[in-house]
Symmetry: C2
Subunit: 217 residues, 2 copies
Amino acid sequence: MPPATETAVPPRAVRLRADATRNRERIVAAAREALVELGPDVPLDEVARRAGVGNATLYRHFTDRAELIRQVTLSVMARTVKRAEDALAQEPDAFAALSRFVFEAADERIGALCPLLSDVFDRQDPAVASQVEQMQRSISAIMERAQSAGQLRTDIAVGDLMVAVTQLTRPLPGTCCAGFDRFVRRHLQLFLDGLRAPACSVLAGDAATLEELQARQ
Amino acid sequence: MPPATETAVPPRAVRLRADATRNRERIVAAAREALVELGPDVPLDEVARRAGVGNATLYRHFTDRAELIRQVTLSVMARTVKRAEDALAQEPDAFAALSRFVFEAADERIGALCPLLSDVFDRQDPAVASQVEQMQRSISAIMERAQSAGQLRTDIAVGDLMVAVTQLTRPLPGTCCAGFDRFVRRHLQLFLDGLRAPACSVLAGDAATLEELQARQ
DNA sequence: TCGGAAACGGGGATCGTTTTTCCGTTTCCT
DNA sequence: AGGAAACGGAAAAACGATCCCCGTTTCCGA
């Protein structure tokens, strides 16, 4: 009987104190912003500073950088799924649902999901894998509805959408361009216009799902 | 009148040895690639390694990081201007010229021009300023021809194009996704499709030139 | 071909930054 | 109110980048 008992479920073994939960959430939120702004090598002290907590608190909650990034990723995916489901349920027009989701995904800092594609991650992690799958499903639903309605070109897939939105919304390094956000909105809109059916070009290569993106490494 | 003036022109005062020029070019090329891949904080040792030279050689040629980045920027701008002029001159169709330029700009690692927008640069630098202006002119020419031909929407400007292409072509951090290039091509094509006139949406905000982008900081 | 000088490469000292640990103090729960 | 959990700041340790030194190699002109 290996030490399954003590290592299996550390997180919810004991109820966290109220301030501890609050701080933990603050840290994840701050890390999300800092990660997209400063990149994956952002100093953890910077994250702590933005969260308004001491650096020791950060290390108390997350054993290392990888664990923090993992939590940020899970959190962003959960919020993204929520947004996708809401957009699909609430928007009558199929392409309007897609547009709304794209802009909201930008607000949710979907760019923070970059690490999913890189090597920081344990691809076997069940929590991550299931979230990815769920996200794939909810976004696919939006896209397929728009494609069925003849409003969205059919030669693209979830991977195209996610990667392009991620790219377009990443802050330029070293830039704190005021009004850059408005600029980003313009580019997202232009990209969305390019997604409309009937397509006025043919795309080379294959559309890719998220799983394929991760797999091809 | 051979080397009469040694005071006026420090750079070309003495002819560089053959291997020295070769190494210098290698370093600039390696720095261009490394900058887009690893970001503006890439270790200079990494640049030297990629260039296949010792780190001392790098420091011998460039006094510091800023000077190296400056040279990379100048080099990329020069190559980009060349590509823009060629595309305009050689492509009969106005939109085809724009498309060709976009893909070639991606090949030229236009993403390496990010520092232009950040604070690393002396905005008074005459060499840089004149190159920026020239680039603005040559790309404007392509866009205006396409707009006059009714093929390109009129609510965008050079700044939109350059920033969006930069964003779409940046490598994802930590990723050495094989076949990512083909992916990027697809996204550029989608974006280009969104640029076509007649536009199927209205863009918020104003189109921006490169100078405005730099100015608003 | 040869001598001298320019350029090179690797290694290591120095410096700044990031991570990690420690401990006295504060906050929360019962 | 008491005790434990959590906190913050700051110092110590670890890390990595920059920069310089010096023996060796490469190029150029005679």
